[in-house]
């Protein structure tokens, strides 16, 4: 979505902080995939791939790829000790049962209530929802990583989504190239601002109403 490499890595690095020891985590394609690179060694995580793996490890070395051992994005992975294979029905059983502590997804739009839109632009792009509906609706914590504005410079964080939804009131945390915002009962809480942006920059580029945290951290 047009976010530069440095910015993508910074978003991923920030998202990695949400991941705690022992968690079960699903990473979507795009920026979310990068999150794995920033998890400290002492934080042991079981990564879930909805095609049917629990416990994927890092990418294999070039030449060591196994075409039959890939993540849901179709890219080669490795296995951690304690990993298991299962069919896609069981993979989604885990998701629907709420066993995913965190899912990290991309988005086209997010509303201030946490509505998520990321699977269809009617008449333009209709990739389909894949597993995003289950992940967004059922994971304990849903983190969206995305550019703060779209190619036209317009806010992707809206009072109300204009695109068809993936899930209603699902998102818990939004991390963009500009800021970190938490979806709360009272509304969207601006908690952190990414340098070089200021609180004012973020407010200006956000269509949704923002509540300022008592102390907005500068990252």
């Amino acid at each position: 979505m047009g976010v530069g490499v440095e910015s993508r890595n910074r978003i991923a690095q920030r998202a990695a902080k949400e991941i705690k020891d022992g968690m079960i985590v699903n990473l979507g394609i795009g920026i979310p995939t990068l999150v794995a690179n920033y998890i400290p060694e002492e934080v042991h995580v079981m990564f879930h791939a909805e095609n049917g793996i629990l416990g994927t490890g890092p990418s294999p070395a070039p030449g060591e790829e196994d075409p039959n051992l890939c993540n849901a994005g179709g890219y080669p992975v490795t296995l951690q000790p304690g990993a298991s294979y299962f069919d896609s029905a069981v993979a989604f059983g885990m998701i629907r049962r709420g066993y995913l502590d965190i899912t990290i997804l991309g988005a086209l739009e997010v509303s201030e209530k946490g509505d998520l839109a990321n699977w269809i632009v009617p008449g333009k792009r209709v990739p389909g929802m894949g597993g995003a509906m289950e992940l967004a609706q059922k994971a304990k914590k849903v983190i969206v990583l995305m550019n703060h504005v779209n190619k036209q410079g317009k806010s992707k964080i809206l009072k109300q989504c204009t695109l068809p939804l993936t899930a209603k009131e699902a998102v818990d945390l939004i991390i963009t190239d500009m800021a970190v915002m938490e979806v709360t009962k009272d509304g969207l809480l601006l908690k952190e601002v990414m340098s070089p942006y200021t609180v004012e920059d973020v407010i200006q580029h956000t269509e949704a109403e923002l509540i300022l945290a008592d102390r907005v951290t500068r990252l």
Binding site: H48, F86, G93
Partner: protein, 232 residues
């Protein structure tokens, strides 16, 4: 960090496991005619003196075998099962009004438990249509064919028996002792697995793991069967 460690290492003692099972607990169990019922957990529940259980599982075992030991010693107020034919005490308690029994056809029961285990609301089945098994059940038509709406089943605690477990709770079963165990393992809000053998993480073949550890909350060492089988 303790939470993380606990999510990775689920090994516990029988005593710790029993703290999750109280008077009135809804308890789902794996096993089929006693085979695959978790013997150590059944014995522990008996010893602890737990009563008024709502039991969910395939059958009532035999009077002195498996889950039947809890049923015939009047520890359950209710049983959801497919049959109680092998445990005459269960039939007697039911007739006397001391045990409420709700029957589901066996395959329907298995699918209802699985549905609960994978987070579905229920399933649509045509088995039992035209019999009293359809009484009180909602019907729905799919493509001009009638189906019964069979709600998913879950439980506060699920107890299962496995051949091998690792500390994360990955399970493999043993021959026909598999039966309802993998379904029940998924359907508990808190699932306790009793295993003949506990192996280090990474030792189970990921291709042959039947229950991925994420469904399991606690693993205890089995002390083995403490009853005589009907054929012995």
């Amino acid at each position: 960090m303790q939470t993380g460690a606990k999510k990775r290492n689920k090994l516990a003692t029988l005593e710790e496991a029993l703290t999750h099972i109280h008077d009135g607990t809804t308890l789902m169990f794996g096993g089929f005619g006693g085979v695959g019922n978790p013997p150590t957990l059944v014995e522990g529940i008996l010893q602890k003196g737990v009563k008024d259980l709502t039991l969910i599982g395939n059958d009532a075992g035999f009077p002195d075998i498996g889950i039947g030991r809890l049923v015939s010693r009047e520890r359950a107020k209710k049983l959801i099962a497919s049959h109680i034919g092998s445990n005459p005490v269960a039939g007697k308690l039911m007739t006397e009004g001391k045990l409420e029994v709700e029957f589901s056809p066996q395959g329907t029961l298995a699918e209802r438990i699985r549905a609960g285990g994978v987070g579905l609301g229920g399933i649509l089945v045509d088995v039992g249509i035209g019999t009293i098994a359809e009484e009180g059940k909602e019907k729905i038509s799919i493509g001009g064919k009638e189906y019964l709406v069979e709600p998913a089943l879950t439980a506060e605690v699920a107890i299962v028996y496995a051949r091998k477990a690792d500390p994360f709770g990955n399970l493999v079963y043993d021959k026909s002792a598999r039966n309802f165990n993998p379904l029940v393992a998924m359907a508990g809000a808190f699932t306790i697995a009793e295993a003949d053998e506990i192996v280090p993480l990474g030792e189970l073949d990921p291709e042959c793991i039947v229950t991925p550890g994420v469904f399991v909350d606690m693993v205890i060492q089995s002390k083995g069967v403490n009853w005589k089988w009907v054929w012995e």
